[in-house]
């Protein structure tokens, strides 16, 4: 997968993109609002000084929160949007799969649409002739190929569109979330095709919200935030940055929530008996201050499988934690994929009221994790299950074994001939 010694196929230099959001469209509105037109305009920088260069043969994931400019960057690379400043240069044939069947015309038959859509994606009619049977075969809708597309079910529509898209022969493929469409067999078909594209040395630029997918198929990931490039590296690094970003956003959310609650309480107190109803989520103020992995009472970083361990989670409660609060912990793989988790509610263990600092041990009689590095997190949630705080990467744990098994679990498998 990582044969990334090829020439640069996409070069983005100092690209910024500004959107001007105007609030009126018709001539009348413009004339009426002429003097005040500034008020009806809003500037919005979707991209800010982005530099990026992509070598041929790599698969790059563009990730980031909603509205971070991922799709805008993809469209800029594809030439669909022109940057406000900076340049985008590319080599080779490029195909953009921003929406399946973007060029389908409802009044034309499937056959006509195949030719039209293939041509839009850059195939000549002769090439389409050659691939036509393969396309129809792939789509699995032979008997409807001469029916107008408007009579297709949405599933048939997507299948035909995808069949056309994968038979185009691009050097650079831009994909935007289209993999999220369709049922599971269809998605698996997509992924298989992407793998074979990788194998053929094609470059793929992928926008997705499926972070596990990024860890799975990409060999490089780029994180965007508010139009700026904030991280660029291996998927594991990029995902770590993005996840901590998400945690921060969540922490801000929680803080805002708590502030609002405090304000409402203050107002209720000032207004006497007229108490405002409390917001739905009750979140006591508390944090996880430490997560440790203990072997026989002392912290460890490297362990052998099968050891009895304890995960000690230390809680700092600035407000008393009472009632049904929840304490949990979990393991993540090196790329940040969650692989195990549990909490006090799932275990059915009631927790005592905590004021100030307190520590709890989750005991593991024997560790069944497979070989590799893991991170451990701890988390607190309120009685409703709403998370209060999460300490990501609280501890590192490396499991060293004898390389008899691969994967996240260790089963201590043996092998014997079956007795008849």
């Amino acid at each position: 997968m990582a044969r990334s010694s090829g020439p640069t196929v996409v070069q983005v230099e100092g690209v910024s993109k500004r959107f001007v959001i105007r609030k009126e469209k018709s001539l009348k509105e413009r004339v009426v609002n002429f003097g005040r037109s500034q008020r009806h305009k809003e500037d919005f920088w979707a991209l800010r000084d982005v530099d990026l260069s992509i070598e041929s043969g790599t698969t790059v994931g563009l990730i980031g929160p909603n509205g971070s400019g991922k799709s805008t960057l993809l469209k800029t690379i594809g030439g669909i949007l022109q940057p406000t400043s900076g340049t985008v240069r590319t080599r080779g044939r490029m195909a953009a799969l921003l929406e399946l069947g973007a060029g389908f015309h409802p009044d034309l038959t499937g056959r006509e649409n195949v030719y039209l859509n293939a041509s839009i994606l850059g195939l000549s009619t002769k090439q389409t002739d050659r691939y036509f049977d393969a396309i129809v075969d792939f789509s699995g809708i032979e008997q409807f190929i001469d029916t107008q597309v408007k009579f297709y079910s949405s599933g048939m529509y997507v299948r035909l569109a995808f069949a056309v898209a994968v038979h185009v022969d691009p050097d650079v493929l831009l994909v935007d979330e289209v993999l999220a469409v369709g049922d599971e067999p269809f998605q698996r078909k997509c992924m298989d095709r992407i793998r074979s594209f990788q194998h053929e040395g094609r470059t793929i630029v992928l926008v997705t919200h499926g972070l596990d997918q990024v860890a799975d198929v990409c060999d490089r990931a780029v994180v965007l935030e508010h139009g700026r490039l904030v991280a660029d590296g291996t998927p594991a690094e990029a995902l770590r940055v993005l996840r901590s970003e998400f945690d921060q956003m969540r922490a801000e959310d929680i803080e805002r929530d708590q502030e609002r609650r405090a304000r409402q309480e203050a107002e209720a107190a000032a207004g006497g008996a007229v108490a405002t109803p409390a917001p739905a989520e009750e979140r006591p103020k508390a944090t996880i201050s430490a997560v440790e992995v203990l072997d026989g009472g002392s912290p460890v970083g490297v362990v052998a499988p099968g050891r009895p361990l304890a995960v000690r989670v230390t809680v700092d409660a600035t407000e008393p934690l009472t009632g049904d609060w929840i304490l949990g912990f979990g393991f993540e793989s090196g790329s940040g994929q969650g692989i195990y988790g549990t909490n006090s509610r799932l275990l059915g263990v009631p927790l005592p009221t905590v004021v100030g600092r307190a520590a709890f041990d989750f005991t593991i009689p024997a560790l069944h994790l497979g070989e590799g590095s893991y991170t451990v997190h701890g988390a607190i949630a309120g009685p409703t299950g709403a998370e209060v705080h999460r300490l990501r990467d609280g501890a590192q744990l490396t499991v060293q074994a004898d390389s008899r098994e691969v994967g996240f679990v260790r089963l201590d498998v043996g092998l014997v001939p079956a007795t008849a």
Partner: protein
């Protein structure tokens, strides 16, 4: 598989890096865009077919409708203006005269109106795929040319039936007229298609303008009827309308019975000048289009 991988790498390394989208530069950008359009000629062909097929797809009469409309107009004008208002008394073979004018005029208006709506109408594609966006107004021109060819066939048949088919030198006017109409139609289509994205009023404005220009071109009345009322600069103004010249040029070809009727002097030269101005206008329109198209995807 590694061979296909290696050959791909070698091929890509040999290619230069290209700026995405329309190329910069005034003259070089124009040339690059024309080359790009040439590379997409198959797509253009498919888009024209799509327009033609989709238009009358589910109607029983289908294509006949594209003929019925101008024929109805012909009938209305021939009876109302020719007979009731008496224009036919001063214009010999009034039906041929009107039909010739309508045929070339329809080519122009269809190019401009379908071109104006083409970018907004194809917004789904423009937002999702990069293509040289000029293909959409060009596809409008293509389907208009097809309809024109069908109407032209009818016109030729009609001249054969009345036993007065156009022959000889008069055909010289045909390419000149067609060239002027196509160039001016395309230029307006490009310009208005781009502006219409930002100001949707344009497509309604075009409808009104088309109506006005229909009556300031000698389609239902002859140049002989209007010339005496125009003095000096008004006559020059009237003849500055390239479509007025094109309509007269077209009548010169097919309206054989009108040979004795007055025409502006040096009509062929005037058509030549209109064509050259039209070429410059097309260039300017394409440049404006190229400038505005950078923001199409976000404005639609």
């Amino acid at each position: 598989m590694s061979t296909s991988h290696d050959t791909r790498v070698a091929r890509l390394a040999a290619e230069p890096l290209r700026v995405t989208g329309p190329q910069p530069g005034v003259a070089s950008g124009f040339v690059a865009q024309v080359k790009d359009l040439w590379a997409h000629r198959e797509l253009l062909d498919l888009l024209i077919r799509r327009e033609l097929k989709a238009r009358y797809k589910d109607s029983t009469l289908g294509f006949v409708w594209s003929l019925l409309r101008p024929l109805t107009l012909l009938l209305i004008y021939a009876i109302a203006i020719g007979q009731f208002l008496g224009a036919a008394r001063q214009i010999p073979e009034f039906a041929i005269f009107i039909y010739a004018g309508l045929t070339i005029w329809n080519l122009f208006t269809e190019t401009v109106t379908s071109g104006t709506a083409s970018i907004v109408g194809n917004s789904g594609l423009i937002k999702k795929v990069y293509l040289p966006r000029e293909v959409f107004p060009l596809a409008g021109l293509g389907s208009a040319l097809f309809n024109f060819a069908v109407q032209l066939l009818l016109l030729v048949v009609a001249t054969l039936i009345i036993g007065d088919p156009p022959t000889g030198e008069r055909w010289l006017y045909f390419p000149a007229t067609l060239a002027v109409t196509v160039v001016w139609g395309l230029a307006w289509a490009l310009l208005l298609a781009a502006v219409n994205v930002y100001l949707r009023d344009v497509q309604y404005l075009v409808e009104v303008a088309v109506m006005v220009f229909f009556w300031v071109s000698p389609i239902v009345y002859s140049w002989g009827l209007v010339q005496p009322r125009l003095d000096g600069w008004l006559e020059d103004l009237y003849l500055a309308n390239p479509m007025a010249l094109a309509v007269m040029g077209f009548q010169k070809v097919f309206w054989v019975a009108g040979d004795g009727q007055p025409v502006p002097e040096n009509l062929l030269t005037r058509l030549g000048i209109a064509f050259l101005v039209g070429v410059v206008f097309t260039f300017v329109a394409q440049r404006v289009f190229a400038r505005l198209q950078g923001n199409f995807a976000q404005e639609l």
